[in-house]
Each structure stands twice: as structure tokens, then as C-alpha cells.
């Protein structure tokens, strides 16, 4: 049974305010009696830990990094959306809400999205007050830029390092609570199990990555802020250590996993250059403000980009989508890049990219202006490719970037396990089938600063006086033993192939069959091939060394084991969803113009999957999506 989504009654614009009044509160003096575990210290985790600490809760924050400041939120480049309407260009909370629901191709929960749009304005105020050095105009007021999927300018930014500056802001607020003793920080600690007692979350098991110590931690509630699962593709824009393990182990304990097939392929990344490649690098979507995307009209083109006359260039986004042009949403931009590359029009030595050309913008605004806006991105591109984007167009191609799917949560961000919450990219709730640019930072901070601090009280208030579950309780000792057994098992397999080998092979299967375009035959094949590779992994993986020290092979093996199970579920979810929507494109379901064709009659729902065991497919529970405010239409960006 899927728990209730707990969407408050009343008009859309009043739901959140009403809900805040209706839910239970914990008295300020009683908050210190509750212990809350927050796993992850990215935007969602650091902001949640800081705020829960300020409120008075006893917070324990966990990160597998050596410092909380290294969480992958730090790599977000472009910006953060907020409905401030500082440009006076017609923005409003309702418009941001509308754009986000539409951008998500009508597969998100309206009430959650509206709340996100409402608190977006508070986030900017909060971050500015903390000293985030947002870009400013000469008059001293905040600057904005435009992002895909919107016709207003609502994106705030700090050069090309917005994620870094926002994360440092949230991290500093958390460190302030560490100093006063309200937050206890556990670095180098990876969550390997969720512990439950009587059907409720009561703690976690962690491994210290530097000493191998397995430790149990109890709490009254557990908040997972552990990010997305894009690294299932092996090659992605995620950091190397990003993984699904914390969320997946919660899933195995009963937390439903929602919409795993909704993965976002970002249109502007540097194309793959060789087999050794370990990750893909994003070039911020903001570049699409000034860059023009094109390929040669002829597949036989052999001239350098500069020598191809304008008439022989195919500006395919501008031609097909005159209203939005190069600023169409990410899914549309990505699929169109794939289409032209599949037609043989790709550029670069492997013919696997498209041009993103700044020559017109440099001619119009001058090199200095472009450098001021994007200098660090241009520099990064030059380092990686050895080519100068001021004189030659960049070569870009889509790459896996973000995952809209995640743990199912209700309006309070609680998963299907009482006492277990999921915030930020780790949950599924706000972006539907496609996330708009500059909305991930917004959601992570919304959840951590402005949602979980209120909603967690509703669960905790009636539990005042409940003791913590003892670490000697069998639920903890059994879970600790389970984690230790899995580690010892990896070390004893003594196979022939490295964990990276299996990850790379898994990634190829996922990219080929569950990537930018999916079909029934491919998805069925993916399921059987992932299973076969998974069996081989458990027999033949080689994990050298021991548990009692830093051992990256051992860390990877555990994460890859979870990616195998997740990959299979992604295929099942994609197979089950016989429609196209946002980032999920089923070739069987497209319009005459090759756009994603939704099936609102059969699929206007969230697919929440319930775990059984590794060899039994999950059971699907459907949460119907009810649209009160936004009328479902075929998305059009023409």
C-alpha cells in the first residue's frame, strides 16, 4: 500500500501556509530531546543540518567526504532560480510554478512544486544574508540571467560557480552549529544500512572509509540528503563518488523508489574522447544564452568550423523552435542533438558532438564581456580539449547529469518508512519527468532550509519522551553484522576483474538501452543483460586489500552492487511507462514531429516501486497526479 501523499486541502496558493499551521510543533525547549541523523552534506543536507541545529535539535551529520564542503552540489555552475521578478519581466510565484510543472512534462506533484516556487524567494534572501557573493550590477543590486524552459530572467548566479558559493554558504552555517555543539559532524563516514524497529526508522550503520570501523548510530528520525543516481551510467557529470547506496539500502528496507526511469541528459557537455574516460564535464547551460548551436548541413563536411559559410550551417534548434531557439528545455535540446548526430552530421574527430558557437556573441559584445560571463568555463574547456573556444566553436554532446526519480516522499518529504525523510535530489517530488536548469539548487535548499525543519516536527511531536533504540538492540547488532558480512564477502570473492570494469560495462548497457531513447526490445534486453552481468560481478569481482584501511576498491564494489539492482529497476520502470514524457523518451510514443508524446489517460501517475528481494521484480504502486491549476497540454516550445 502506498501511504497517503498528505497534500493539504484548499487553494493551491494557500496549501503550504495552511499546512504549516495545521501540523504539530515541537516546543522549543523540547527540541533538544530529539536526535536527528542527516546523511549527506550537500545543499540539502548542510542546510537541513544547519537549520535543525539552530532550532535546537541534536543533529548528527554524516558525509563520506573528508570535508562537508566537497559534496557534489559544489560543481553546479549556472545558477539558482527564484520568482523575485527583479527584472520586472512578468515573473511571479505562479509563473515559476507553472514553468516547473510544464517543464517537468506534467509528471510532478503540483502542491510540492507550488511550495518550491513560494520558498524560492526566501532562499535568495537567506543566501545573500549569509554572504554568498552573487553577481551584481553596477548599482549594487542582484543580477539575473536566463535559463532554458523560461521566458523570464530569474536565475541568480555567482560567476560560473553558483553551486560552490551556495554550498559554502550552507556549509558555513552548518559549521557554525558544529562550533556551538548542536551539530556533530561525522566525516569519512558512508551510510551502508538503514536500521528499523517496529516499522520505523531508528538509525543507520556506517563505515569509516579511512579505518574501516563499522559503527551504529541511533536517532528519532533519519533524513537522507544523499543526491541522485546518475553514476549508474558510469560516464556522467556526477563526481566519481556519487552513488545510490544510502537511498538504495533504504529502498531494500521498504522505502518505495519512485520514477527511476526519469533521468536527465544534459545537452551541453564535452563529448567522450576515448575508452579511458572517467567522467564527462558539463559546460553550463547558461552558455546557451550566448552560444548558437549548429552542425554542418552536409554529412561529408570536412572543413574547419570557421570555414563553413552560414548558409551551410544547420542551426537546428533555432529553425525548429523559433520562440525558444537555443533555450529550449534540456530534454528537447538533448534529443535534437542525438537526432543530428545519428544522421551523421556530428562534428569532431569521432563525429560525436555539435557546435556551440560564440563567434556572433563575441562580435556583438566583445571578447571581454564574454570572458567576464563565462571565463572559467572557457578555460575549463580549453584545459580538457586543448582547443580555444574563443576562436573555435565548442564541441558539445548530451551526458547524464541529474536524476529526477528518487525515493518516494509525501508532502512532508517523508518516505514510505515512518521517520525516514528524503530531501534534495534523493527524492522524486518536484521536477516531474524533466528538471529545468537552475532548479536543482533551488530544490535542495528549499527542502533543507524551509521544508524539513517544519515538517519533521509533525512526526516527532507525538514521540516526546520516547527513548532512542539501544545500540545493543538486535536490530542494530543484526544490521551491523549484515554490513560486515557483505564487506567480508567482497574481500573473499577473489575474482579476476576490477570493480571499475563492471561499472563501465554496466554503464554502457544503461546508456545504450536506457539512455536518451528507449524501446521495448532494448529495455527487455537491458534487463536480461544487466542480470547476467550482475551474476558475473558477484562471482568474479576482484577486491584486493583489507577492510581496516582506506580501500577504494571495496567502497566501489558496494556501490556498484547497488547500481546493478537500480539499473534493472530503471529498465522495468521505463518498460512499464509506455509513453514518452520529459527525459523519458519511448520511441513507440512520439508525435509526427518526433516530440515526446504523453499518454495522460494511462500514465498521469507516479510509479512507486516496492522492493521484495534481489531476484523478485519490485511491485508498482501508482500515485495518481491530480492537476488543479495547470492544464495538461502537449508541451510546445516553438
Amino acid at each position: 500500500m502506498l501511504p497517503e501523499a498528505k497534500i493539504p486541502a484548499g487553494p493551491m496558493a494557500e496549501k503550504w501556509d495552511n499546512h504549516k499551521f495545521d501540523i504539530k510543533l515541537v516546543n522549543p525547549a523540547n527540541k533538544r530531546k530529539f536526535k536527528v541523523i542527516v546523511v549527506g552534506t550537500g545543499l540539502a543536507g548542510a542546510s537541513a543540518s544547519a537549520t535543525l541545529g539552530e532550532l535546537g535539535y541534536e543533529v548528527h551529520a554524516f558525509t563520506f567526504h573528508d570535508s562537508p564542503r566537497r559534496a557534489h552540489s559544489i560543481a553546479a555552475q549556472g545558477g539558482i532560480n527564484a520568482a523575485k521578478n527583479y527584472r520586472n519581466d512578468g515573473d511571479s510565484v505562479h509563473r515559476l510554478f507553472y514553468d516547473t510543472v510544464k517543464g517537468g512534462d506534467y509528471r510532478s506533484r503540483e502542491a510540492n512544486v507550488h511550495r518550491l516556487a513560494q520558498v524560492s524567494v526566501d532562499i535568495i534572501d537567506q543566501m545573500a544574508a549569509q554572504g554568498v557573493p552573487f553577481a551584481r550590477e553596477y548599482g549594487g543590486l542582484l543580477d539575473n540571467r536566463s535559463f532554458g524552459g523560461a521566458q523570464v530572467s530569474r536565475t541568480f548566479y555567482a560567476r560560473g560557480q553558483t553551486g560552490q558559493q551556495l554550498l559554502l554558504g550552507a556549509y558555513q552555517q552548518m559549521m557554525r552549529q558544529v562550533e556551538v555543539g548542536k551539530v556533530t559532524l561525522h566525516t569519512n563516514s558512508e551510510m551502508l544500512e538503514l536500521v528499523m524497529k517496529d516499522g520505523e526508522a531508528c538509525g543507520i550503520i556506517t563505515r569509516d572509509l579511512t579505518t574501516g570501523e563499522i559503527a551504529a548510530h541511533n536517532a528519532h528520525a533519519v533524513v537522507l540528503c544523499t543526491g541522485g543516481y546518475g553514476n549508474v551510467f558510469y560516464l556522467s557529470t556526477n563526481a566519481m563518488a556519487c552513488n545510490v547506496t544510502a537511498a538504495w539500502r533504504a529502498h531494500r528496507k521498504g522505502a518505495y523508489f519512485a520514477n527511476p526511469c526519469y533521468t536527465q541528459i544534459h545537452p551541453t557537455c564535452i563529448p567522450v574522447s576515448d575508452e579511458f574516460q572517467s567522467k564527462l564535464t558539463l559546460m553550463s547551460e547558461s552558455l546557451r544564452n550566448d552560444g548558437r548551436i549548429w552542425v554542418p548541413r552536409s554529412a561529408d563536411e570536412s572543413r574547419s568550423a570557421r570555414d563553413i559559410p552560414d548558409a551551410e550551417r544547420y542551426y537546428y534548434l533555432e529553425e525548429k523552435y523559433p520562440a525558444f531557439g537555443n533555450l529550449v528545455p534540456r530534454d528537447v535540446a538533448s534529443r535534437n542533438a542525438k537526432t543530428v548526430v545519428d544522421q551523421g552530421l556530428g562534428v569532431g574527430p569521432l563525429k560525436n558532438g555539435v557546435y556551440l558557437d560564440f563567434s556572433e556573441a563575441i562580435g556583438r559584445d566583445g571578447k571581454d564581456t564574454i570572458e567576464a560571463k563565462y571565463g572559467n568555463l572557457f578555460q575549463m574547456y580549453e584545459r580538457i580539449t586543448g582547443e580555444d573556444p574563443y576562436t573555435l566553436p565548442m564541441r558539445i554532446y548530451p551526458a547524464t547529469h541529474y536524476t529526477m526519480g528518487g525515493l518516494w516522499v509525501d508532502y512532508n518529504l517523508m518516505t514510505s518508512i515512518p521517520g525516514l525523510y528524503a530531501c534534495g535530489e534523493a527524492n522524486f517530488s518536484d521536477h516531474g519527468a524533466n528538471r529545468l536548469g537552475a532548479s536543482a539548487l533551488m530544490q535542495g535548499l528549499a527542502d533543507g532550509y524551509f521544508v524539513i525543519p517544519y515538517t519533521i516536527g509533525d512526526y516527532l511531536a507525538p514521540r516526546l519522551g520516547d527513548p532512542l533504540v539501544s545500540l545493543d538492540d538486535p536490530v542494530f547488532t543484526d544490521a551491523t553484522k549484515g554490513v560486515r558480512d557483505q564487506i567480508n564477502h567482497f574481500l573473499s570473492i577473489g575474482g579476476t576483474k576490477s570493480p571499475d570494469y563492471f561499472h563501465r560495462e554496466l554503464g554502457k548497457l544503461i546508456w545504450d538501452y536506457i539512455g536518451m531513447a528507449r524501446n521495448q526490445t532494448g529495455l527487455e534486453k537491458a534487463i536480461s543483460e544487466i542480470r547476467a552481468l550482475r551474476e558475473e560481478f558477484w562471482k568474479d569481482v576482484r577486491v584486493l586489500g583489507s577492510n581496516d584501511t582506506l580501500n577504494s576498491s571495496l567502497e566501489k564494489a558496494g556501490r556498484i552492487a547497488d547500481f546493478f539492482e537500480l539499473g534493472e529497476l530503471m529498465a522495468r520502470d521505463a518498460l512499464d511507462r509506455r509513453e514518452s514524457c520529459g527525459g523519458h523518451f519511448r520511441e513507440e510514443s512520439q508525435t509526427e514531429e518526433n516530440e515526446a508524446l504523453r499518454d495522460d489517460i494511462n500514465f498521469a501517475h507516479v510509479s512507486a516501486w516496492e522492493w521484495h528481494d534481489p531476484d523478485t521484480p519490485q511491485t508498482k504502486h501508482a500515485e495518481e497526479l491530480i492537476f488543479e491549476e495547470v492544464k495538461l497540454t502537449q508541451r510546445s516550445y516553438k
Binding site: A50, T51, H65, D66, S67, P68, R70, I74, A75, K84, D122, I124, D125, Q126, A128, A129, Q130, G131, P133, F134, R136, Y138, G140, L141, L142, A158, R159, Q164, Q165, Q172, Q173, M175, R176, E179, T187, T210, A239, S273, D274, F276, S278, K279, T281, L282, P349, M380, R383, I384, G386, F450, P453, S498, D500, Y501, R542, L544, T549, L550, S552, S553
Partner: protein, 258 residues
């Protein structure tokens, strides 16, 4: 885009843990594509080590796009290697020559003990932030962001300082293992902004004095800026010193009395 490859010899520092004795091991690195990053080169060598049944080299890395600050090693005696303004993960093999021998060591500083091989413990940097590297702005208290205009030049200067990625190269490059560049970057980021004024002198005093518990003293060698992947300028150290001296007066504790 050269499509060429290199044959190299690596001399890599291997060490089982903080208390263990370490030493250099020599490994061949053959057929390394020039388009590979330095860390991808180490990935290739590690795959070969695992195939041969040997423990792979543990090295710090994560985002591989020069922003998380996890990576960092001494490459031929230089923090982050030969390229100016470049973190190890952004260094590419096209900057090396066929036949080169490359010496790779962990950060060298007493404050950063070795965890294993090339990985060190940089937690003292977090201690400096914990001591005061923030603006006290509890959630929910903020006024509208545009109510406090900040001149563009001020915001830009704060951003120049805030660009620090906390990798610790400044400490590793410094003959005194001082952390002045790191600390000054954070202090200047916050002390130069209007939001940072109320806690300005309390902040600088607490951060500098926490820094001094772990790190050596700055004697203006300037190696830190040379090594910094974000090219944080050395003048921030002057601003740090100025504010620190002032703090001793403002906080009513004369420096000579300490």
C-alpha cells in the same frame, strides 16, 4: 586533439597509514593517451596493478572538474603539477613528454598526516571555518536581498576570495606549511562584504588563532599563490594581517599582552 600516446615512468609514494613507513615505488605507465587527464592516467595504472594482483594506488579525487578541492598531490615537487592555476584533475597528459619520469607524492605538511598513499587528512582546514568562517544568519531572519545593495567591485572582490576550493595546495607548497592563503581567502570573502561587518574582528581573531594551532607561520614566500589552482592573490594575506592587528585593538586585547 592529438590522439597520441606517451610512455612514462612513475615514482609514486606508497604508505600504509599515518604511522607506517612510506617509500617510493616505480611503475611503468605505457600507452597513456595525451587526451587523458592526470587522474585518468592513474586510473589506467591502477587497473594494471589490480590485474597484476597488487594494491591500487589510493589517491584523492572526486569531481574531476577542478571545483570540489578533493584532489591534490605533489607532481615533480610542485603542488598540483606544472600548470599554473590548475588542479590536479584538470591537468592533462598533453603537458608531459614521451619518456618522462614523474614523481608523485602526497601533500607534505605536518598538519596533514598521510591517511594512505597519496591521501592526507586536511580536517584542520574545517576547524578554521568552524572557528568563525561564517556570517551568523539563522534561517528565516533575512531581509529582501536587494535591500542591501553591494557595489559590484566589492562583490567581485569577495568572489575572487570565495573562489578558494580548500584543496590545501597553499599549505603543501609553503616552506613553513602555513595556511595563510586559505584563511585569508575566507576572511576576505566575508570581511569585505557588508553582511560580514558585525562579526568582522571576532571572526578574524578566532580564525587566525585556530589556524596557528595547526599550521606554521607565513614569511611571505609567495609559493602559495603560485600553487593555488584558483590563483588566489597574495594581497589577501595583507588584508588578513591588517584585520587581525585591528582585531587586537577592537577586541580590546593588545597583541603585546598575549
Amino acid at each position: 586533439m592529438s590522439g597520441e600516446s606517451l610512455n612514462l615512468t612513475l615514482k609514486v609514494w606508497r604508505q600504509d597509514g599515518a604511522g607506517a613507513k612510506g617509500g617510493f615505488e616505480t611503475y611503468p605507465a605505457h600507452q597513456i593517451p595525451t587526451d587523458a587527464s592526470f587522474l585518468e592516467m592513474l586510473d589506467v595504472v591502477n587497473e594494471q596493478l589490480i590485474d597484476a594482483g597488487k594494491l591500487p594506488i589510493e589517491f584523492p579525487h572526486d569531481c574531476r572538474e577542478g571545483i570540489c578541492g578533493t584532489c591534490g598531490m605533489m607532481i615533480n615537487g610542485r603542488a598540483h603539477g606544472p600548470e599554473m592555476g590548475t588542479a590536479t584533475c584538470q591537468l592533462h597528459m598533453r603537458k608531459f613528454t614521451d619518456g618522462d619520469t614523474i614523481e608523485i607524492e602526497p601533500w607534505r605538511a605536518a598538519a596533514f598526516p598521510v591517511v594512505r598513499d597519496l591521501v592526507v587528512d586536511r580536517s584542520p582546514l574545517d576547524k578554521i571555518i568552524e572557528a568563525g568562517g561564517y556570517v551568523s544568519a539563522p534561517t528565516g531572519t533575512a531581509a529582501d536581498a536587494n535591500e542591501m545593495p553591494i557595489p559590484k567591485e566589492v562583490a567581485d572582490s569577495a568572489m575572487d576570495a570565495a573562489a578558494c576550493i580548500g584543496c590545501g595546495a597553499c599549505v603543501a607548497a609553503c616552506p613553513n606549511s602555513a595556511a595563510q592563503l586559505f584563511t585569508s581567502a575566507k576572511v576576505w570573502h566575508l570581511n569585505s562584504l557588508p553582511q560580514g561587518q558585525p562579526e568582522r574582528f571576532k571572526r578574524v581573531e578566532a580564525m587566525v588563532e585556530t589556524m596557528e594551532q595547526f599550521f606554521g607561520s607565513c614569511t611571505n614566500h609567495g609559493e602559495c599563490t603560485e600553487a593555488c589552482p584558483k590563483e588566489i592573490p597574495q594581497d589577501f594575506i595583507a588584508y588578513l594581517n591588517r584585520d587581525y592587528i585591528k582585531s587586537k585593538v577592537k577586541n580590546r586585547k593588545l597583541a603585546s599582552q598575549r
